[in-house]
């Protein structure tokens, strides 16, 4: 399952990232969203999702969320 199907408030662990050589996916990784990292879905608003990851809050859009396999 990918990040799009994670419910609001739910915690998840990043299992893998698809298309790791895609610059945007690489940026996500550099922003801290990497394999094994735990994060939580804080809010969803239209096409954007707000995540809590360690000390930071990330906003990513749904299309990009599709690249993130979670457990």
């Amino acid at each position: 399952m990918d990040l799009r199907s994670v419910d609001l408030g739910q915690e998840f662990t990043v299992k893998s990232l698809k298309a790791r050589d895609l610059p945007l996916v690489r940026k996500l990784t550099a922003m801290g969203l990497r394999e094994g990292k735990k994060a939580r879905v804080l809010l969803k608003n239209g096409r954007v999702i707000l995540l809590r990851l360690d000390n930071s809050r990330l906003i990513i859009d749904r299309d990009l969320a599709g690249y993130i396999e979670v457990a």
Partner: protein, 684 residues
């Protein structure tokens, strides 16, 4: 004196600007990176016998030269060969920030690591062993608190130290990778250069990729993450401290799908109110001081010195008037820029991006574009400057080209005047129609640009929401001042030049008794056939459009001059002392009005004063309701505003600005034509 070129690099929102501001103060300069619309900040300071040139690179997460901001950062680092890299790091998010640090260390330049927001880290129970960090990486490490400026004084000595020692930082990967890299030629090459050689040497690269079972890029990223992880484990300790997070609590309201909107409306209302109502009394005062006091005073002095009459008029009206015209923008731009910077640095604007994305992305725009667009209803000039907070060039250009269609109070003055003559029965309906028409043209423009020029889908939305922070007052003031200075230098000179030119058009040849005989009048007459199809068929109306290029509301006063054939700028009895005292008195009133405006609820910028009745009678004879509607539509859509044009040149470049001006003229003509024809059928 020797110059040390310092690249200031870091992730977005780590406080680079604040640090730079503490180091350089008002020596900070803003500009654009060559050929792009991304803002560049730099400063030159003298320290310990060196001239230190600090260049702020765009905030980036990686040195992957793909996105525009990253390309700028990488190209600067690789081509300009900075002597020292100043890497600003957000200590509460140390591990994540260290990925970029690792890529920067690969460049092999002497490096200073600035662990910023040290106080926040301590509150979160994070401790960093800076001595160990220095030793492991062979860099200097400085702890700072950007908000207060604590520790910033240690940065420049550290820069000089690493520079003088020519310290090469250490970054070590796994023995396999280090082994492969050491076999590559390139004595004295940096790690980044060796990696580039490896990427471009298939016979060396392939075995590495085959062994690891993944592409080199992924291998290297994994190496970097492993390095970061090891380093963090070695230098960082985290005690778990349970504490309430203010940001989370605030976000529950501010980002709430329902509650967020009233908050947004409130913030926009307050910003609008302060920006426009607070500055308007000062704008009016500056205008009156220059036109009623300084201009005539200069005239008196020059006359006493026996300068010829034409020069006296030129200097007191065109030169002093032109400077005054530029200065009238200062209170507005200053106030609005201060507020926008406050909203940006406190962390609210990124949240608007999240909140409004649902609506804006339907227009193919980012959520954050909503703020400059709304500000456009107050004044297009600072609204366009406010697009500097936007990250992607595509979005910035799209929004910049939408803003001029947002109807501002200057247009409202013109609408109110014509509506009071021709549409007394339903003024609100006509004015609302015009405002909506402006928005429609803006949306159509964005649509057209997206289809024709900026094709491709809306850029992906990846952004970090910084925690809410109180920016330091000093930083807010400096940043506002730096942008004001930039406006005066760049846009101001263009505005001044053009306003002098328009004065000359209106007053040449010098003997011309009235505007009919002036160059402007002649041009106006030539223009009549162009405007005839849209219902404007007399030279007086077309001529009044020429001075109106300075600012739309001038169309009314210039119509007054042309229709009543009175001489422009006649100087009556002028007593410098009395006028000065009266100016000082009105400055007092302006200050009072500005502060009183803050405690009232209404937005005074939208209230229009009544104009003289005599002119209305003359206009009634020359226009019909449909030609008046067409004229208002034309004024609405055509970018008849020198200030707007000047900032367009500054923000998107001369070529695009001129093209846009042409586009706005054609769009204004076309829409006015339709409005005129349709309303002629309906209103007869």
């Amino acid at each position: 004196m020797k110059t040390i070129l310092v690249a200031v690099a870091g992730n977005p929102n780590v406080g680079k600007t604040t640090i730079l501001n503490h180091i350089a103060g008002t020596d900070l300069k803003v500009g654009n990176w060559p050929g792009v619309t991304v803002e560049k900040k730099e400063a030159l300071v003298e320290f310990m016998g060196y001239r230190i040139h600090l260049v702020d690179l765009p905030g980036v997460y990686t040195l992957d030269p793909v996105a525009e901001d990253e390309r700028i950062a990488v190209s600067f680092l690789e081509k300009q060969n900075p002597d020292v890299i100043l890497n600003i790091v957000e200590t509460p998010n140390l591990e994540r920030n260290l990925f970029l640090t690792t890529e920067l260390l690969e460049l092999g330049r002497p490096t200073v690591l600035v662990l910023n927001m040290w106080d926040e880290a301590i509150k979160q129970g994070i401790e960093v062993d800076t001595d160990r960090m220095k030793e492991l990486l062979n860099v200097e490490v400085v702890k700072t608190v950007g908000r207060t400026g604590e520790g910033v004084e240690d940065i420049l000595p550290a820069v000089v130290r690493v520079y003088e020692e020519g310290r090469v930082p250490k970054v070590t990967y796994s023995p396999e990778i280090e082994g492969v890299l050491s076999q590559l030629s390139g004595e004295g090459s940096s790690k980044r250069e060796l990696i580039a050689i490896l990427e471009n040497t298939p016979e060396k690269r392939k075995p590495v990729e085959e062994k690891a079972g993944k592409p080199l890029r992924e291998i290297l990223d994994d190496e970097r993450y492993a390095f970061v992880h090891g380093l963090s484990a070695e230098v960082m300790k985290k005690r778990s401290i349970s504490r309430k997070d203010v940001t989370d609590a605030l976000d529950r309201v501010v980002l709430h799908p329902l509650l967020g909107f009233p908050v947004f409306v409130g913030v926009v209302y307050i910003t609008f109110k302060i920006a426009f109502d607070f500055s308007t009394p000062f704008v009016d005062w500056v205008d009156s001081f220059m036109v009623d006091f300084l201009g005539p005073s200069a005239g008196l002095v020059l006359k006493a010195l026996n300068f010829p009459d034409w020069f006296v008029r030129f200097f007191s009206e065109a030169v002093v008037g032109g400077v005054g015209f530029v200065l009238t923008f200062v209170p507005l731009i200053g106030t609005l820029y201060l507020l926008i910077t406050l909203l940006e640095m406190s962390g609210y604007i990124p949240r608007v991006a999240f909140l409004m994305d649902r609506f804006m992305h339907r227009l193919g725009l980012h959520g954050r574009s909503v703020i400059p667009l709304i500000m456009g209803f107050g004044c297009n000039v600072p609204a366009i400057i406010a697009t500097r907070t936007m990250e992607s060039t595509r979005d910035k250009i799209l929004v910049t080209m939408m803003i001029p269609f947002m109807s501002c109070p200057a247009r409202l003055v013109v609408f109110a005047f014509f509506v009071s003559i021709f549409f007394r029965e339903n003024p609100a309906l006509v004015i609302t129609f015009l405002y909506l028409l402006g928005i429609l043209v803006a949306v159509a423009t964005a649509f057209f640009l997206r289809k024709a020029v900026y094709r491709g889908s809306l850029s992906h939305f990846v952004m970090e929401l910084p925690p809410y922070r109180f920016p330091s007052f000093k930083t807010l003031i400096t940043i506002t001042w730096v942008h004001l200075k930039d406006f005066l230098y760049r846009a101001g000179t263009l505005i001044f030049g053009a306003s002098v030119f328009i004065w000359l058009l209106l007053n040449t040849p010098p003997g011309a008794g009235n505007i009919s005989e002036s160059l402007a009048g002649k041009i106006g007459k030539v223009l009549v056939p162009v405007f005839e199809p849209i219902g404007i068929d007399n030279w007086k109306a077309t001529t009044s459009l020429i001075p109106a290029f300075l600012a739309r509301e001038i169309v009314i006063s210039s119509m007054g001059t042309i229709y009543t054939a009175e001489e422009a700028g006649k100087i009556g009895e002028f007593n410098p002392k009395e006028e000065f005292l009266s100016q000082m008195e009105s400055l007092g009133t302006a200050v009072r009005d500005a502060f009183v405006s803050l405690v009232t609820l209404r937005i005074a910028a939208f209230e229009v004063e009544e104009e003289e009745e005599g002119l209305k009678d003359l206009i009634r004879k020359d226009f019909t309701p449909s030609s008046a509607l067409s004229f208002m539509t034309f004024i609405l859509i055509y970018t008849s505003c020198l200030g707007t044009f000047a900032v367009l040149v500054r923000e998107i470049g001369r070529k695009r600005a001129v093209l846009f001006l042409g586009y706005s003229f054609v769009a204004a003509w076309t829409v006015s034509f339709v409005v005129y024809r349709v309303s002629s059928l309906v209103l007869q």
